[in-house]
């Protein structure tokens, strides 16, 4: 029995196809940047500094203030950025969602404790957390990711907890409990799918956010070597060139945008595939 109208399913698939191919292309470009532009991302050429884009073939996207090829750097920069952006978001989501579920479902003492930790975490400005963190463990890519997870899980935890508070009073949860379904199964089989929508949205958008945060870490001295390109770093470096050489910061920004667009399309597709009621409801 076809529960999906033709138009709906076409759109639904198109979304997936575009999202998946965009993500695939970006990942491909990033992974093979070294093959496509050997050494291009770090080769300083002061004679060719700040070449405008689309003016010659050797530097289609122009060059940065040190004469490095912007395209090559954008591709190479994806390595750090995607790694940091994606891994930290996944980590934060896993941590936040689980804690949020537990806090909201069991309530009581653990809820109180977790939410007060959330308060503490939220009241700690990111800079401060970053500074102390680096003072204690020192800067590295792994630490950057850990730091981002530590400072971002709260969002998901609170978001999830809020929803669990209403969901747990819903009849279908009660009915699962009446059957004897274990708490863990209720949490993961019934609550989780019903609250994942906002989490997915936030998650895909937060990838961009964390890519940018990575750059502010560099600014704080928690980051990685500035000669290792990253999108956020390029945006930050291009800040003073906005009026004279827009391409230095616009292209990495676009790279982030396309990545997030791809993830977003995938996220929406995922959300839709989790939401059966949406499927037959499209005119």
């Amino acid at each position: 029995m076809a529960t999906t109208t033709a138009r709906r399913s076409r759109f639904y698939n198109l979304e997936f196809i575009i999202g998946a191919s965009l993500t695939a292309i970006i990942c491909f470009g990033v992974l093979f940047s070294e093959v496509l532009f050997p050494g291009g991302a770090t080769k300083v050429d002061l004679a060719a500094r700040l070449t405008a884009p689309f003016t010659n073939w050797t530097h289609p996207f122009g060059t940065d203030p040190l004469g490095r090829d912007v395209l090559a750097r954008v591709l190479a920069g994806g390595k750090v950025s995607l790694l940091v952006g994606v891994v930290s978001v996944i980590g934060a989501v896993l941590l936040g969602v689980v804690l949020g579920l537990v806090a909201g479902y069991y309530r009581g003492f653990w809820d109180m404790l977790l939410m007060r930790f959330a308060d503490i975490q939220l009241a700690l400005p990111f800079i401060l957390l970053a500074m102390t963190f680096v003072a204690i463990v020192g800067p590295s890519l792994t630490n950057t990711i850990i730091l981002l997870i530590v400072s971002e899980w709260v969002k998901y935890a609170r978001l999830v907890r809020g929803q669990v508070l209403t969901l747990r009073e819903r009849e279908f949860v009660l009915s699962a409990r009446a059957i004897g379904v274990t708490n863990w199964r209720i949490i993961f089989q019934h609550l989780l799918p019903n609250l994942l929508g906002p989490v997915i949205v936030l998650m895909t958008l937060n990838v961009a956010n964390n890519i940018l945060l990575e750059s502010s870490l560099t600014f704080l001295g928690l980051g990685i070597d500035p000669s290792t390109p990253s999108w956020g770093g390029m945006l930050a470096d291009g800040r003073t060139y906005l009026q004279t050489a827009w391409w230095v910061s616009v292209f990495p920004g676009l790279a982030i945008l396309l990545t997030v667009l791809g993830l977003n399309l995938l996220g929406d597709w995922l959300r839709d595939s989790l939401d059966p009621s949406g499927r037959s409801s499209r005119p």
């Binding site: 309530r107 308060d119 906002p198």
Partner: protein
Amino acid sequence: MATYLFKRILQAIFVVIVITLFVSYAVRLTGDPAVMMFAGGGGSMSEADLERVRAALGTDKPFYLQYFEFLKGLVTFDLGRSFAGGAPVSGLIAAAAPSTLKLAFVSMLVSIVMSIPLGIWAAVSRGKAADQMIRIFSLVGVSFPNFWLATMLVLLFSIALGLLPPSGMGSFESYIMPTLTMGIILTATNVRLVRTAMLETLQSQYVMVARAKGLSESKVLYKHALRNCAIPLITYFGLQFGGMLGGLVVIEKVFSWPGLGTLAFDAVNARDYPVLQAVITVLALLIVAVNLIVDIAYGLVDPRIRLE
């Protein structure tokens, strides 16, 4: 209600103590305010000089004494004086907090006013042009950092068009760009969040019943559907508001806005402990308050949720 509030106040005290303890201890790991005083100019800086300044600042005492001093100050409402410049900390906070709060409030308002209608619009026109446009807008909003967007706005409105002052806090016009920048960034996420949340409730039977009553589409959407998906939205707005209080540093810097963010940032840079501790305390209290409001709002929005 009263017992609940009382419990939350006790918890707030816990939060403030933990956070200030952490902050006070942590900042002391990463630098010496005495040295920072000498930085900037080419003064010679002997160990004796440093000792002298440390004694004057009180940072030569053991940590626990310094911390108790601070706690005592909190209780007696005497937050001490800034290491940098010696101004009373309470004065600095009193001057900075309102500017940040104003900025945060207005930005939040801008974002809510923009994101709810846009998000709902996207949800009802799911997959159509409007939805896609809103999606692109939202992606631009998250893909470019706040300083980038801010600079773009400045270039457009202040330099190309000459309409708005590029920075500073004062007249009505001076609020437009900072709040717009923050508003765009917040809206970018919110709009998508509203959209998803709406998609879920739009399917419910009670939305259909509301329609069957003949309610206007806007009543159906804004009253019946929105309220039912308000929980994640309220949560996130609360998070954003809290996050903004501590995270406005960049916007405050770009627009030379004299707020808590700048105060905290400068205090960190100068290792100005009294100011930093005070700012963090204020932030913690604000955030505890925001989260309390959010928790209470849950119960108001959805009567099935009980406060505990």
